[in-house]
């Protein structure tokens, strides 16, 4: 067992017992007591003690340790989704804080173990990450630090291009045939002596072959046959990469998929853990002298700042609301159809299904479905929720509306694809030139132009053929193109069918 002090260890046992009595079902959880420096370090690595070498972890560390030293922020808790679960306590926190963290951590552990979106994650990720690190270090030894680092930079630029919805089925597999990228070498015989080249492979013959090839290709169905969301996987399979590059891209993709469920269940997960720490602390754990500190800490965590969305707050309130509604029977057709305010207010059928219901919710929902299903009008009114907007004249956030539909639409919008733009590969042989055509499914927000530009350049480094992207920019459908040297844009405004990109001649500018 870990290095907890006897006092902490006995508290841990007590809290674990309480958690079990509450019905929480966790992996074995190992707590480590570590210093702030160690915690900043591990936090910079996303919770894992060993990661592949990269400066971005150094940057995180620089920021975390500085902001702790300056007293700006403090990491209380960190818990890793593995089996056994690892969780870290910071040395020097007060006893109350440690107890709070432990209770909170058991909430997360239960969630990791039981939420369906986590069911396919690798529970031995600690080892996997260490493996990744070893592999990357081996490439560094072989190929050189700079080059490997440069390639990792490129991969990280594409790391969010995965199919988040596929994680319920395990990692998706590619099963399409490899396309034939049209290259001159493909139509040539291998020539040992360079002076023989033009005799064995007469240039006109090669050109002729190539032309025929294109004609054949044009008859073939488009590739890929349907749009691909898992762009990383597509690139791993079809981009002209060297073995080591392929492996590194695979590493980045694996880690990206590992972290994806955590991004998809932030509200649910934090809400769940907060619900349980609050429940356990106030009912079973705290002693009288700690109650004020607890209230202070708890309310600090739950505070929702203007301009910021606090998943802890929304999550815990929704869980409490669900519990109460299901305890009182406020669900189902009869409830929905009841218009009488007084009747609704006093509605209590003593169904007592609340506890059971919240356990069900933590099992099968993610943030989007959670909000969609359980954010009710009553809830919004009771919690005084509103949509705010930035008033450009005063540079102030202002309350825009308290309309329930608007609030819900706004929340769901923020969570569409879990905050990531939806990008698909439409065509990998665009214009019959082996170019990549991407389609950004516009959800009401434009892409950040300069980042888009840089990301396309990075994708070019991997695909090695021009990258095209169709998106709506400033309310106008446009095609952006990076061909390895130049970055251009063409308006598609006159094309009525610009919604779905298709093969056509774009005017050259």
């Amino acid at each position: 067992m870990a290095n907890l002090t006897p006092e902490l260890e006995s508290e841990r046992k007590r809290i674990l017992k309480i958690a079990k009595d509450c019905g929480l079902d966790c992996f074995e959880t190992i707590f480590e007591l570590i210093t702030y420096d160690q915690i900043s370090q591990i936090a910079s690595y996303g919770g894992f003690p060993v990661r592949y070498p990269h400066w971005k972890f150094g940057m995180e560390y620089e920021q975390l340790s500085k902001s702790y030293e300056y007293g700006l922020s403090k990491i209380y808790e960190m818990v890793i989704n593995t089996d056994p679960c690892y969780a870290y306590l910071m040395e020097g926190n007060s006893m109350m804080d440690q107890k709070l963290v432990m209770a909170h951590v058991y909430g997360h552990c239960d969630f990791f173990k039981n939420n369906i979106w986590f069911s396919k994650t690798n529970r031995k990720m600690m080892d996997q990450m260490a493996n990744h690190a070893t592999r990357v270090r081996r490439y560094i030894d072989r190929i050189g630090y700079e080059e490997v680092e440069k390639f990792i930079d490129t991969c990280l630029s594409l790391e969010n291009l995965i199919d988040r919805h596929s994680i319920l089925n395990g990692l998706p597999k590619m099963n399409e045939a490899k396309p034939a990228p049209a290259r001159n070498e493909q139509f040539m015989f291998k020539v040992e002596k360079s002076y023989m080249k033009n005799y064995i492979n007469p240039p006109d013959k090669v050109a002729d072959q190539k032309q025929k090839h294109f004609e054949r290709e044009a008859l073939k169905p488009e590739f890929p046959s349907e749009p691909v969301r898992d762009i990383l996987s597509f690139l791993i399979h079809y981009a002209p990469l060297e073995d080591w590059q392929q492996d590194i891209l695979t590493i980045i993709r694996d880690e990206s998929y590992y972290f994806a469920p955590q991004g998809m269940t932030k509200t649910l997960n934090e809400g769940w853990a907060s619900y349980w720490h609050s429940h356990m602390m106030t009912r079973h754990i705290l002693n009288d002298s700690e109650i004020i500190d607890f209230a202070d800490h708890h309310s600090g965590t739950m505070f929702m700042q203007m301009g910021g969305y606090n998943p802890y707050k929304v999550g815990i309130e929704l869980f409490r609301d669900i519990e109460e509604r299901w305890n009182k029977g406020q669900f189902g057709r009869e409830w929905e159809q009841c218009d009488d305010v007084r009747e609704r207010k006093n509605w209590d059928k003593k169904t007592n299904l609340g506890r059971e219901k919240i356990f069900e919710v933590r099992k099968i929902y993610n943030d989007v479905t959670f909000i969609d299903e359980y954010l009710s009008e009553d809830f919004c009114v009771r919690n005084k929720m509103f949509v705010y907007k930035l008033n450009k004249e005063t540079n102030q956030f202002e309350v825009d509306t308290r309309d329930f539909k608007a609030i819900k639409a706004q929340l769901l919008f923020q969570m569409t694809n879990f905050g990531q733009p939806i990008i698909k590969i439409e065509n990998a042989n665009f214009e019959n030139r082996g170019e990549l055509l991407l389609h950004h499914v516009h959800e009401g927000l434009d892409l950040q132009p300069n980042y888009m530009d840089a990301t396309m350049q990075n994708m070019y480094k991997i695909w090695k053929r021009p990258i095209n992207l169709v998106t709506l920019m400033d309310s106008e459908p446009q095609l952006f193109r990076y061909d390895g040297a130049e970055y251009t844009r063409h308006s598609l405004a006159d094309d009525k069918k610009a919604e779905g990109p298709e093969q056509r001649e774009f005017p050259k500018s």
Partner: protein
């Protein structure tokens, strides 16, 4: 630990950025304001890895909670978001760069030669180092390890050491303390004396240029001389010594007698900085206007007879100003030609600061 490796990699990337963008930092005063003893703090944009992501409109609306009617203000956007634009990553991070590293970058950028201190090897100073051991001393300096060894030796030699019960209890005469040991260290002493013309014709921009330039000169000299002293003299028709703050802030009016500053400087050197022990670097900044030809002649005499034989190098920087005639520089050129004990530099504007630093320090003296 692996994180140290990543951290130092990150830092070297940052330094690379500072290096690439060095010119901007040289001509930009904000960095000097953030100077601490050993470090300067340079704000640079956080390095972001580009990804496809939503544009800044995302931050403009959201869901909140609390009281208030439609249209009620709810506070301002947090810092760091900035204007919507196409500049990446407005998040700033502060990097600390030590003066030494800064000097190194400067040296590298300008290809500055190492300074050869003059006559320094002969001067030895005594320095106290806590490397000695003594049986008496303050408790705070007690050395546990030595004390234990001594006690252990006593136990063993007197035969009372018991391996089954290895407790060692030191007595008074076992106690050992750290103590001062005198060591001889070669020592190079250097002083920089900045002189500046603060007559009416030197405007704020001119002074800012002098300020930036002297900051960089100091940085470079500090790297070569541990205990660098700096003195400041301002002058119009008469000269006086001031502290650093005043030096850069004062503005006076009236005529200009350059010789007044030179005389004060001479006096300073004669009384405090014997040229056999000290490396002396007088810098004089002015817009080149002197009151009379007679005064200029006096200056030239002072330079020839006192300064040039006694100092490492005498530097004169002429800052372009609307009112200055720039005559003094010409006079110096005419008189001394290519004497390499005198460095002349003309600074037309901020852009020329780097070149001028190179003029001053490029000789390696």
């Amino acid at each position: 630990m692996a994180i140290r490796e990543d951290q130092s990699r990150f830092k070297s990337i940052i330094k690379g950025k500072v290096r690439d963008d060095f010119k901007r930092y040289v001509t930009n005063g904000e960095m000097i304001g953030r100077r601490e003893d050993e470090f300067v703090k340079i704000p640079i944009p956080r390095i972001d890895i580009p990804t496809f992501r939503y544009g800044p409109k995302q931050n403009e609306q959201g869901v909140g909670q609390g009281d208030g009617e439609k249209g009620d203000g709810q506070g301002q956007p947090g810092p760091g978001k900035g204007e919507a634009g196409d500049q990446p990553g407005e998040h700033m991070i502060e990097v600390e760069i030590s003066m030494d590293e800064l000097a190194e970058i400067l040296g590298e950028k300008l290809e500055l030669p190492k300074i050869q201190p003059k006559g320094a090897k002969n001067i030895l100073t005594e320095k106290n180092k806590y490397t000695g051991i003594a049986p008496v001393g303050p408790e705070g300096l007690r050395k546990f390890k030595q004390t234990y060894k001594k006690a252990l030796a006593r136990y063993i030699s007197s035969g009372i050491y018991n391996p089954q019960d290895p407790a060692i209890i030191p007595i008074r005469r076992d106690y050992q303390y750290r103590t001062v040991k005198k060591t001889q260290m070669p020592y190079t002493k250097a002083v920089v004396i900045y002189m500046m013309d603060v007559s009416g014709s030197m405007g704020d921009e001119q002074k800012e240029i002098v300020r930036l330039e002297s900051f960089w000169i100091n940085t470079w000299l500090k790297k070569h001389y541990k205990g660098l002293e700096t003195r400041f003299i301002i002058h119009d028709a008469s000269a006086k010594e001031v502290d650093e703050d005043t030096f850069f802030k004062t503005s006076e009016s009236g005529g200009t007698l350059i010789s007044s500053a030179y005389k004060l400087c001479q006096q300073m050197i004669q009384t405090e900085y014997a040229s056999s022990e000290w490396n002396i670097y007088p810098f004089h900044f002015s817009d080149g206007d002197n009151w009379s030809g007679e005064d200029t002649r006096l200056c030239l005499t002072l330079l020839r007879e006192f300064f040039l034989p006694h100092v490492n190098v005498f530097s004169y920087g002429q800052v372009e100003s609307k009112y200055g005639s720039g005559q003094f520089l010409k006079d110096l050129q005419k008189e001394f030609g290519t004497d390499d004990r005198l460095t002349l530099s003309q600074i037309e504007g901020r852009d020329k600061i780097l070149g001028s630093i190179k003029d001053f320090l490029g000789k390696g003296k």
